[in-house]
Assembly symmetry: C2
Homo-oligomer: 148 residues x 2
Amino acid sequence: MIQNLTEHDREHLQEALGKSGQKVTPQREAVFTVLLAQRDHPTVDEVFQRAREVMPGLSLATVYNCLETFVGCGLVRQVNHERESTRYCPNLAPHAHFRDKATGRVHDIELPPEVLKSLRSILPPGFDSEVIEISFHGRAQSGEQTSN
Amino acid sequence: MIQNLTEHDREHLQEALGKSGQKVTPQREAVFTVLLAQRDHPTVDEVFQRAREVMPGLSLATVYNCLETFVGCGLVRQVNHERESTRYCPNLAPHAHFRDKATGRVHDIELPPEVLKSLRSILPPGFDSEVIEISFHGRAQSGEQTSN
DNA sequence: TTGCGGATTAGACTCATTCTAACTGATTAG
DNA sequence: CTAATCAGTTAGAATGAGTCTAATCCGCAA
């Protein structure tokens, strides 16, 4: 189920962590592996359950720590929808999120550069934004897949 | 500080509540008044504090109830930023939100129809969205006001 | 006057997240 | 080699926004 990291992914992990003076640990590797293995925007708890299959001693606190670390060094994005539990997403390309009302599932929606640009353009002068979050909420015809 | 509702606002409240078979109560009036008096995206707790000045017996649970009711009948919008406490906004025109990193304050950003349209257009067929939330996070030069 | 139903209330409860303090294990300094 | 250090990990306690529950209130209809 959960593959090991490819050489490429491991390097990616190591480089990103290294840049902010942090190390690859077995726990971080396990959590990162889980994120890449199934890109369905898991919650912390889901990551925890999945990672435990591979590393039974892993603690929830560590999963929180790892995910926070990854967010800090730009390896993954947080996805929030209203007050539901935070989800995590290893897709770094600019994209929006669509939450399906019926299933609760989250889909990535590609965000073309020109749309992103037009969004940035609505900010009045003096406002400088680093992060834009766009989330749709509605219904997807069942079977729609934008898993990515 | 907290004015009474104008005749117009009271009618607005009554009509919106009435449409979903609910009544104007003193508590709902107080909470609505607070929302209109200071459009700074207050949290539930802030609404609670402010409304209490005018109606000391008011309970927190009621504030939660009122706000939920208002959201339900389209009188106000919820504003969420990451996992911070939910804020409430009586601005019904389509707009985005900008959260100032430094102050935590939330500003409304006008959303021109064509930008909204271009956003909708990125949804693949089969995705049908009722709600779009757009939030910026960054710095506003101090003094910037988009209070509205 | 009684009964009904929606609204309100205080306080208990939930649950995601954060905090704390102890522990581990690798690396460095003496 | 031994000790000190330090990042990382861990279990469990603490936090806090939000929800639930059960009792009460209140306006209205029978």
